[in-house]
């Protein structure tokens, strides 16, 4: 029975592996073989119990980069293949849609312009388009947030 997992479990990422550790809290209550109550320190151990679906990793991935419909005109169905949803295109053609909103698609246009300029050896133009690329990425982020700023009114303010 796992408990207080946010405080008792830890992880490390090493290459393509995730190493999981569990904290075992020390105690002074159990005497050793000679009857001495020696303090035992907290220690990290490997998982001491089996937990079904116990490990959950939330991550970003390159999922469905190309699809058969415009992603901004339909709502994605969680079940693949259901009518109304879109289906991943594994062999994309010129008619395939990029699975991104319009702002990120425009950012990709700038990215490709930068790559074309780089192939020509025009690094100045490449930097120009990469700057536009990052600007559109940040625009896409800020479009999702609204910040309200209020200021206090001075007591004797004249209007």
């Amino acid at each position: 029975m796992s408990f207080d997992t946010s405080n008792n479990w830890f992880y490390q990422k090493k290459g393509r592996k995730l190493h999981i550790f569990q904290m075992r809290t020390g105690s002074m209550l159990v005497p050793d073989s000679e009857g001495r109550l020696t303090p035992a320190a907290d220690e990290l151990i490997y998982p001491s119990e089996a937990i079904t679906n116990g490990l959950r990793i939330e991550y970003t991935a390159l999922t469905k980069p190309f699809i058969d419909k415009d992603p901004e005109t339909i709502v994605e169905s969680l079940d693949a293949g259901v009518d109304g949803g879109y289906v991943e295109v594994t062999s994309p053609s010129e008619a395939s849609h990029v699975n991104l909103n319009t702002m990120l698609s425009l950012a990709i246009v700038e990215y490709i312009k930068a790559k074309v300029a780089e192939r020509r050896g025009d690094l100045k133009e490449k930097e120009y388009h990469m700057r536009d690329y990052y600007k559109k990425l940040s625009d896409n982020e800020s479009n999702l947030k609204k910040v309200f700023i209020t200021g206090t009114q001075p007591v004797f303010a004249l209007k």
């Binding site: 190493h19 991935a61 991104l100 425009l106 990709i108 990215y111």
Partner: protein, 96 residues
């Protein structure tokens, strides 16, 4: 936006190269933003030997948002765990 529309805007005709660049760009976007978040769950096994604390990262992973462990004593909630900031002492005691 279709691949053709992107090619027309970027004034290029090499379809395969553009598809490869689009994948590169999406990969870079996913490294810094959370446009497509995926969940992976794995069974935790009771450790019996030296590498039983190792779990494979999911295929296609670009960046980790969080790692959680199921708390079975608290209504089966997944609780985010912390990354270990130091290298733990390893004791390979086969008869503890």
């Amino acid at each position: 936006m279709t691949i053709l529309e992107i090619m027309e805007r970027a004034n290029t005709r090499d379809t395969n190269l553009v598809i490869a660049w689009i994948k590169d760009a999406i990969h870079q976007i996913q490294s810094t933003q959370q446009d497509s978040v995926v969940i992976n769950k794995q069974n935790i096994t009771k450790a019996a030997d030296g590498d039983d604390n190792q779990y494979s990262l999911p295929a296609g992973l670009i960046s980790i948002n969080s790692v959680s462990i199921l708390d079975t004593q608290d209504d089966n909630k997944y609780k985010i765990i912390r990354r270990l900031g130091f290298e733990p002492v390893v004791s390979e005691d086969t008869n503890p």
